[in-house]
């Protein structure tokens, strides 16, 4: 029981991180119908910018300020990364055949991974735990269930970010424009919405969220390397699909589910195959529920 509770806590924390990344996937797929293969690597870049900022500020400022700086700088720079990637690699291919943006995205993913690898080295980088300690929830048979301050911090930050983001999407003109373009791009354009700009904003916001996830990941695991984007990317995409592509609450829900699956699988089955387990979930979900749990039903007009 205690052990399960621990896995639950771990899973939720991890799931929040995946959820943040998943939102980026689901937004982009919803608005321009492509899987942004490079999104996972933007998450990785966010983590690296985080570690660079924290290293630069180490010893100078207090921990909360340092973290805030890391979050803001990382989100801002990753927003620029996301914007640039869309402009350079995807926008020119918008009218082209189906495979073109995907290949370009794969290329972009390889570029980002190797850009970080060649510029910063292939070694993994570690930082000490900046938010140590926590509370012990319960003890059972000598196993202590720990809820760390770090985990609480991650959940809180994620929830705050999600709240802001939900506000933007549901209450602001930008959010309305995004939903309009998602439904019918041509019509939205005819109504005066600048579709290019709206799409750019989608990438900007998605990338900023991924950056937050990256910094959270850095704090949580303490170790990053240039390849974390690949794995996290597929898992986050699985989360987006699980929750239903195009559905934002679905992405978060999917993220939580994936986090829980990964935590429980690691806890009760073999750690070695935890990634394989998540990937299998992706296949199974798409086989039986192609539109995910909360997704829209896409009926092709015959």
């Amino acid at each position: 029981m205690a052990y399960a509770l621990q896995q639950l806590i771990n899973g939720i924390t991890l799931g929040m991180i995946y959820g943040l990344i998943a939102i980026g996937y689901t937004m982009v797929y919803g608005i321009i119908g492509m899987i942004n293969f490079a999104h996972g690597d933007v998450f990785m870049i966010g983590a690296f910018i985080g570690i660079i900022v924290l290293t630069a500020l180490s010893g100078i400022t207090s921990v909360p300020l340092g973290l805030l700086a890391a979050l803001i700088l990382s989100a801002a720079l990753c927003a620029l990364y996301g914007f640039s990637i869309e402009r350079v690699a995807y926008r020119p291919l918008r009218g082209s055949f189906r495979l073109a943006p995907l290949i370009s995205a794969i290329g972009m993913s390889i570029v980002l991974e190797n850009y970080v690898q060649t510029s910063q080295g292939a070694l993994e980088r570690a930082i000490p735990n900046l938010i140590p300690g926590g509370i012990m929830l319960m003890k059972q048979n000598g196993f202590a269930v720990q809820l760390t301050w770090l985990q609480i911090a991650i959940v809180i930050v994620t929830l705050v970010v999600l709240a802001v983001f939900t506000y933007v999407v549901t209450r602001t003109p930008l959010g309305r424009a995004m939903r309009a373009v998602e439904q019918d791009a041509k019509m939205a354009a005819l109504l005066g919405i600048d579709t290019n700009r709206t799409i750019s904003y989608t990438f900007i916001i998605g990338s900023a969220l991924a950056a937050v996830a990256g910094v959270m990941f850095l704090l949580y695991y303490g170790v990053i390397d240039f390849y974390i984007g690949f794995n996290a990317g597929i898992k986050a995409f699985t989360a987006a699909v699980l929750g239903g592509i195009g559905s934002l609450p679905g992405a978060v829900l999917g993220g939580l589910l994936i986090g829980l699956i990964e935590a429980f699988w690691s806890g009760y089955a073999t750690v070695a195959y935890k990634d394989a387990a998540v990937y299998s979930i992706l296949a199974i979900v798409l086989m039986f529920m192609p539109t995910g749990l909360l997704g829209r039903n896409e009926v092709e007009k015959v």
Partner: protein
């Protein structure tokens, strides 16, 4: 130069963005100090160079757009390239066959030829799935791995040799292709891609972690090289070896040449089967599947069988290639079967263009040959590869050879432009 001011402003903006983007990664360098904690060292020179380069590149690009000659695509030109195509293919074939026999050619060049030929074969195999049937498979490396590991395990446990295992590898890979094809039958486009990617990764994870069967990350060693009618290519010379039989001094070039001709033959087999199948109802059904699945259904074509056959046949050739890979290296490990391999082969197929056989050859030569030749750039190899993918997609999304030859005609068959083709409808 009326817009020079605007061009300069644009370039400056791009350079500014570059400064921000490259700043953390090029301008600073993470390192470790003696205490083991992280340090940052500045690299202003590198950053300045990168920003300046970006500025210059953008400036030149905008100037080029403004001043380039108008593009007239003469109809005759495309017919001309088609004519050239007719002569290029046989010429390349002759060059490929003759290459190892050139006097004084270095072993490393023949070895490069073996490498390129392997990718050509993989490209031709994937071409069946992606180019002909339009099924976007990002996990092709899984079948390559099945072929390689089945040979390695069969030779390790049953002592079978390369030639015996070759058909078995192909068969096992084909079966695996059908197994992987079955769950993805109803998936389209991007979803199909990501699930096949996931399957490829699952295969790699299983290989890496099922240590009892596959040796895990350490892989399998001592895989036998192929023999020629029982003659081995051992460097020891003497009876029972190729060198001994033909009274030659043992030379690594001999085995490499033998391997080269094996892969050349396998690749040509793949090509021949593909060309034949294109003229068969099956090949046409594949192409129709790519064009419009729903129309196929309305014509009575069994989509499930057609798709599964595409996966199976494509996988079979990857299996052959994998078996060959194992025998060439004499050692395999999960590191050779990563997603990057799938991406590379896919890039070769797409860059070659429109499912063209010749295009695959050209793309493989460029994508594999060039990085190997530029050894000094090895560390940047993958970076350049990724950049090349993006650049080529943006500049020429249809690939090198953007036309399709109809498989049957009543009169003079006309080339069909690639703009007519639909891709990846799953």
């Amino acid at each position: 130069m009326k817009n020079l001011g605007a061009i300069l402003k644009d370039s400056a903006a791009v350079a500014g963005a570059a400064l921000l983007l490259f700043g953390p990664f090029l301008g600073l360098r993470l390192g470790d100090n003696e205490a083991g904690s992280l340090t940052l060292s500045p690299r202003p020179g590198l950053l300045a160079a990168a920003v300046a380069l970006t500025f210059a590149a953008r400036l030149l690009m905008l100037l080029w757009y403004q001043h380039r000659p108008p593009r007239i695509i003469p109809v005759k030109l495309s017919a001309g390239t088609a004519q050239a195509g007719k002569y290029i293919a046989p010429a390349l074939l002759i060059a490929a066959v003759a290459m190892p026999l050139l006097p004084g050619i270095e072993n490393s060049y023949i070895d490069l030829g073996v490498l390129i030929m392997t990718y050509v074969m993989l490209g031709w195999g994937l071409n069946i799935v992606v180019g002909l049937a339009g099924l976007l498979d990002l996990g092709y490396v899984a079948f390559y791995a099945v072929g390689a590991y089945s040979f390695a395990l069969l030779s390790e446990n049953f002592g079978l040799g390369f030639w015996e295992c070759l058909p078995i590898s192909g068969l096992l890979a084909a079966l695996w292709g059908m197994c992987l094809g079955f769950p993805v039958l109803r998936l389209r486009g991007d979803y199909l891609a990501i699930v096949t990617l996931a399957f490829g990764e699952i295969v790699r994870l299983v290989i890496t972690n099922w240590v009892a069967l596959t040796g895990g990350p350490n892989g399998i060693t001592d895989i036998p090289h192929p023999s020629l009618f029982g003659l081995s290519f051992s460097m020891a010379g003497g009876p029972g070896t190729f060198a001994g039989f033909f009274h030659l001094t043992p030379d690594p070039k001999q085995r490499t040449t033998y391997l080269y001709y094996i892969i050349l033959a396998l690749a040509l087999l793949t090509n021949w089967v593909t060309l034949r199948l294109r003229k068969q109802p099956l090949g046409r059904a594949w192409e129709a599947l790519r064009e419009d699945e729903i129309a196929c259904r309305s014509l009575g074509i069994n989509l499930r069988n057609t798709k599964l056959t595409a996966f199976a046949v494509g996988a079979m050739f990857a299996g052959f290639a994998g078996c060959f890979f194992a025998t060439r290296q004499a050692f395999i490990s999960p590191d050779s079967f990563t997603f990057i391999e799938s991406a590379t082969v896919l890039a070769i197929v797409v860059l070659g263009g429109a499912g063209s056989q010749l295009g695959v050859v050209l793309a493989a030569c460029v994508m594999i040959g060039v990085p190997e030749l530029l050894q000094s750039l090895q560390i940047y190899r993958m970076l350049i590869f990724g950049l090349a993918l993006v650049v080529i997609m943006v500049v020429r999304p249809r690939g090198f050879i953007a036309t399709r030859q109809p498989t049957v005609s009543l009169g003079k068959a006309k080339l069909i432009g690639a703009a007519m083709l639909s891709e990846g409808r799953g």
